[in-house]
Each structure stands twice: as structure tokens, then as C-alpha cells.
Amino acid sequence: MIYVLYFIVFLICVYTARHYWFTLNRLFAFQRHPYIDIDTASWPLVTVLVAAHNEEKVISNILGALMTVRYPEGQMLVIPVNDRSTDGTRAIIDDFVERFPGRIQPFHRAAGKGGKAAALKDAMELATTEVILIFDADYIPGAGLVKQLVAPFFDPEVGGVMGRVVPLNVGTNLLTRLLDLERTGGYQVDQQARMNLRLVPQHGGTVAGVRLSALREIGGWNDQSLTEDTDLTYRLLLHGWKTVYQNRSECYEEVPETWAVRIRQIMRWAKGHNQAMVTYGLRLLLGKHRATLRERIDGALLLGVYAMAPVTLLGWALALAVFFRGVAPLHGVIAMFSLTAYAALGNLAAFFEIAAAARLDGTRKRICLLPFLILGFAVSIFSVSRAALSQIFDLVTGAELHWDKTERFRKVL
């Protein structure tokens, strides 16, 4: 029992060190933004896919925004992927098609497998350009965003690109404010540090792009995956393509405003991530492919982030058991320190990361909310652990993975 506990403590220490490394890198090291200066070029043809499933509350915002972006005329085609919507999404899309002839080609999908990956997979029949951008329907791209996301594809090593997600409905309630802090840490520090260190920036599946030839090389969208973005990141990596992160390519999104929606969202992410861990983990670490050693290690750690929640819970249980059974830690003070600091309290380095990210963003007062993140952390750790357990149960019973759409909260325009 004690050795299992020590292993868990070791894992948590590794993730702690990783968080500190990323944060310090972001604060003090050379920052890589290699493609952001490309403002003049022969801009290639680009297809913009907008994934939409019952998005009547938000779809007009993104289509309207895309019609005003600065990209050479005739070089950009928007394809709203209307995935079996039963609300007014179709009518709104058709209205835009009429108002902007030749610039929007709708893809109305009435049947087929559920989930974003399946819808994107079907919509690929219409996409013929080498560069494809993907947005979720609740995003609002700025005027320069399309060029910024296309620019990295001038690098022939780049297979995928990811921009920064910025919550729009920050001030709604405590949850939206906590999610804003989480996103800040995740993008401003975590993703950018991985970009700086040439590790594995993660493709987020929205505010993102993919090279068509790379996508075809890796076998297209995987409609078996709950998180097609994570799946894409690792398949690109295994085939020698890089995913790059553009911290200054920012785009507004809507974050969940209720805990129930948030829990469903994070459970889907956890299941999809774990699915990718099982599928690609060993192959990434030990297989013969083009990823570098640092990419293998970082990629494996990234795959394990959601698995750490149940592992940490197990660590807490073991720590309590060790205490009440009177088992003496084997290695004296250091072991005691590890047990109490990490097994009992969890990993607080992530909080440091978020505070640093808020500082980098130039925001000050919202850092005061940091102690409340304990609440978000508690909800996440139990939700993610529940997702992992249900995933194991599904695996045993052979149940099919179910894709949950994230509910929107914006008022219908």
C-alpha cells in the first residue's frame, strides 16, 4: 500500500514540477510567436468550418463576425456544419447564405452518427482547400483572426494550429469567473509554455486549423473519439506533424454558466482524453515515430492529466489508510513532507500558474478569486473521477460512448 502511495506522490510531484517549469518559462524565458508577424502574404484559399448542433442562440453571431473578417475576397469559404439541429439553426444559416451569396456554403446534416467529429468528417466532402479552420458556433472571431490562424501553415512542418480562447460571459456568476481563471492559466501559461519549449501544444478543436493533406495522411477525423481535438493532436504528432499555438490569436467564447453543464462538459473532456491516453499513450512513449524525446514525455504527461484526478483521490484514501493503520513512512521527513503536502492537499502549483497567467494578462483584482478555485478543483476532481469510473464501466459492459453537447446561455438575437 505504501509503495502505491509513494508512486502516486511521485506522479503528483512530476506534475507539480511541470506546472512550475511552465510558469517560470512563461514568466522569464524567450517567448515564441514565430508566425504572428506574417501580415503580408499570398493568402491561400481557406475553408472555415463552423460546427453547429442546435445553436440558434449563437450561430448568427459567428456567421456575422466571419463575414467581416479581413481576408482576401474570394479566398475564404464558410461552411456551417448544421449537425441534425432541431431548433432554428437551419433557418438562420439559410438566411445568411441568401444575404452573402457565394461566401457561405451550408452543410445540413439530417442523419448519421452523433458528435462533432462525425459531423466534421461528413462535412469534409465539401472542403477542398489545403487550409481548414474550425470554430464552434459560440465563438466570435475578430477581424484579423483568420489570417493569424492561416499564417502558421506557411511552415511546412505545421499540421495543426490552435488559437487562444477567451471567455466572454466572465461576469455572470462565480462559475464563469472561475472558468475564466482556468482558461487564462491553461492558455496564457500552459499552452504558450509548451509552444516555447517545443513540446506538445494541444489542438483545441475550435479557434483552430488543420492542414488537409496532414488530416488525410492521418486518416481524417476520428468519429469514435469524444474529443476529436486531443485525438487529432496525437495522430498529427505520431505522423511527424506539429501543432502550434498562437497565444495572440484570441477569440471570444461562451463558458458554461451552470455547474450541471460544466460537469457534463468536463466529464466529456475527461472521457475523450482518457480514450486518447489508452489509444496513443504507449505508442507515443515507446513506439517508432518522429516525435522527439521531450515531445514523448510531455505528450504522455498531457495525456495523463485527467487520469490524475482519480489517482489523486486514491492517494488521499491511501494516505488516510496509512495514517490510521499506523504504517510508518519509509523515508523519514521527506516522505512525511510529500505525504502531507501533496497527498493530503493536492497539487497547488496549478494555482500559481493561474495567478501568473492573470498577471501576464494585466488583470489584477480577479486574482483575489483564487481561493475559490478550490471549489472548482473539488468539483472537477470528483466529476473527472466519476467519468473515469463510468468509462471503465462502459468498457466492461460494452456501452457506446455518448457525446454531450454543451448548452448555450446567450439570448437569441
Binding site: 501580415d39 502574404a41 499570398s42 475564466d180
Partner: protein, 358 residues
């Protein structure tokens, strides 16, 4: 002490310690003083002419005054709506300008000229300058910003701290230090030893460009639209060399140092994770990307964007982009020899310099 009391005191103390860090948190949650979304650049999108366009809008209120000044040849002064002092000039030959600003003086007001403007040497302009016609600056001047509706010419050893936009041609004599954004709708010409950061124009020339170098013909049959064409990719895990005069059709990615021999032709884009060295007369259809330093030899032709993550040296006779396919050349540090032509953007994040050809 009663043991129950001690326990209660302990619980109270611990609870207090727990609640203490939450006090500012509750205060912020209630006051929402920092609850607006992070500001995202939604509109101007980094457009190099953003400040120039804003300034043009800003001084539009002076248009009637300027017209009057031009018609009468007089000078007017006053305050702009935000309280900034201005000087409107109607007829700006040397003598009149010199009567307004003596050499060595500091000009603290916004200058707006309805026609050509010639300013004396050794003058510091603390506010923006507008010239409705041509602008010609004396030597050793210091400017905050200049908007010229025709050509803008800066004398030797001049300095610009924020931006310049010339609707016509922009030219700078030797030893100028051009911080910020310099743009022209026509052409930018920089003489030797000029420092720069961000330049944008249909054509940018450093030093003296040999006749024919700035011709408008496309320099190859190739297309710079690197992102749109599907070509084969060659991926090498270590160093790699393209031999002299070799022709490669496809994209090349080297995870180490990449050498491209003289006269080689690449019909695709090229990436090296480490340094990249191009020999003389290399032509590249697509982009050049280096994760470290890049050295571009003489007389090369590159159609697509050129990006070096650390430093870039461009030798004389090299052309980047074309009129048909303008492009971006970017690195933290750039050395461009005299005789280089860039069509589009030349952007040095930290330091750019025009150096003598080797």
C-alpha cells in the same frame, strides 16, 4: 481551561484562518471590479496603417483651417478638440518654416501643413506632423510621427519614435533610426546604416538597388501560395543538405541544420528547426522558416514568407516576394545588406539594420 472551550476556540481559530483568504475573494465576487472579458483586438487587427489612419481622422477638424491657410499663404494656430496645440501652415517653403522653428529647437505642437512641408535640421518634433504635400526633413531631426500625403524624405541621422506613413515614397538617408511602424503606399528606400523595426510597402529597397532588381516581372514561374498547394513533404530528422543546382519539388523539413547549395531551386517551402544557410542564387517557390538563425546568400529569390526565430541575414541582390506576391520577412534581429528588395513587410522585432554588402 475547560476542554470544550479549548476545542471551540481551536475550531473558531482554524475557521477564521480558513475564511481570512476568502475575504478579498468575496469582496471581488460582490463588487465585480475585474469581471469584464479580457480585451481582445477585434477590429484593427495589427494593421500597420492603424495609427496613421487614426491621425488622419483626428486632424480632419483642421481641414477648413488648412484650406484657408493654403489659399492665403498664412499660418494659423490654436487648439485641437482634445486641447493639443497645433500650428497650421499654408505655404511651407524653407524660409517660412525656418522662421517658425529655429535649428536646434524643440517643436512642442502638432504641425499640419496644407501643402509641401520642409523642416529644418536639428529639430525635435514632440507631436505628430502632417504634410498635405511632400515632406522633406533636415538632418539629425527627431520625430514622433509623420503622415505625408505625398513623398516623405528624412535627412541623415534622423530618428522616428512611433510611426511614419507616406502615401507616396518614403526615403531615409544614412544612419536614420526608425523605431515603430514605417509604411508607404508606394515604396520605402533606406540608405546604409539605417535601423528599422517594422516596414511595409509594395516595395522596400535597402541601399542602392541595381537596375533591374526592382523590376515588376515575376521572378519565376512559381507561385508563392504555399499554403494552398498540396505537395510532397520530405522530412529529415537530422541535418540535411540540398546540393548546388539541385531541383527539389516538394516541401523540405529538416529537424537539424539545413544547407541549400548555390543555384538550387526548391519548388515548395523549406523549414529547418535549427539554422538554415542558403547559398548564392537559390530560388524558393514557397516559404523559408528557421527555428534559429537564417543566412540568405546573394541573389536569392524567395516567393513566400521568410521567418527566422532568432536572427536573419539577407545578402545583396536578394528579392523577397514580388509585386504579384507580396510577402513578410520577419525575425527578432535582421541584417539586410544594401541591395535587397522586399515586396511587402520587413519586420524586425528587436533590431533591424541596413548593412554594407560583404
Amino acid at each position: 481551561m475547560n476542554s470544550w472551550l479549548a476545542v471551540a476556540a481551536l475550531i473558531l481559530f482554524v475557521s477564521l484562518m480558513l475564511v481570512l483568504p476568502l475575504i478579498p475573494a468575496f469582496a471581488e465576487l460582490r463588487s465585480k471590479s475585474d469581471a469584464s472579458p479580457l480585451k481582445v483586438v477585434q477590429q484593427h487587427a495589427g494593421e500597420i496603417r492603424h495609427f496613421a489612419n487614426s491621425f488622419r481622422t483626428y486632424i480632419q477638424v483642421l481641414e477648413p483651417t488648412l484650406q484657408q491657410c493654403v489659399a492665403s499663404g498664412a499660418t494659423a494656430s490654436g487648439m485641437l478638440p482634445d486641447g493639443v496645440e497645433y500650428l497650421a501652415l499654408g505655404q511651407c517653403d524653407d524660409s517660412q518654416t525656418l522662421s517658425i522653428q529655429q535649428p536646434g529647437a524643440i517643436c512642442p505642437v502638432t504641425i499640419a501643413a496644407g501643402s509641401d512641408l520642409v523642416v529644418p535640421p536639428d529639430t525635435t518634433f514632440l507631436r505628430d506632423v502632417y504634410a498635405g504635400g511632400r515632406f522633406r526633413g533636415g538632418e539629425n531631426n527627431s520625430y514622433r510621427a509623420i503622415l505625408g500625403e505625398k513623398n516623405v524624405h528624412l535627412g541623415r541621422s534622423s530618428r522616428v519614435t512611433r510611426w511614419v506613413h507616406a502615401v507616396g515614397e518614403f526615403s531615409a538617408e544614412r544612419d536614420c533610426k526608425l523605431s515603430g511602424r514605417i509604411s508607404s503606399d508606394s515604396c520605402i528606400r533606406l540608405q546604409g546604416a539605417c535601423n528599422f523595426l517594422r516596414l511595409n510597402a509594395p516595395q522596400i529597397e535597402t541601399g542602392h538597388v541595381m537596375p533591374g532588381e526592382n523590376s515588376t516581372r515575376p521572378h519565376s514561374e512559381d507561385n508563392a501560395n504555399a499554403g494552398s498547394g498540396v505537395v510532397q513533404r520530405f522530412l529529415y530528422d537530422g541535418d540535411f543538405e540540398v546540393h548546388a543546382d539541385e531541383v527539389v519539388t516538394g516541401n523540405i523539413v529538416a529537424r537539424g541544420i539545413l544547407h541549400i547549395g548555390s543555384g538550387a531551386r526548391i519548388r515548395g517551402s523549406v523549414k529547418s528547426v535549427s539554422d538554415m544557410v542558403l547559398g548564392a542564387g537559390v530560388s524558393v517557390q514557397g516559404s523559408l522558416i528557421s527555428g534559429q538563425q537564417m543566412f540568405i546568400g546573394p541573389d536569392c529569390a524567395v516567393n513566400g514568407p521568410i521567418i527566422a526565430e532568432r536572427a536573419l541575414h539577407i545578402s545583396a541582390g536578394t528579392r523577397c516576394g514580388s509585386f504579384q506576391h507580396p510577402t513578410t520577412v520577419s525575425a527578432p534581429r535582421i541584417e539586410a545588406e544594401e541591395g535587397v528588395v522586399v515586396f511587402g513587410t520587413l519586420w524586425a522585432r528587436e533590431h533591424g539594420e541596413v548593412v554594407a554588402s560583404r
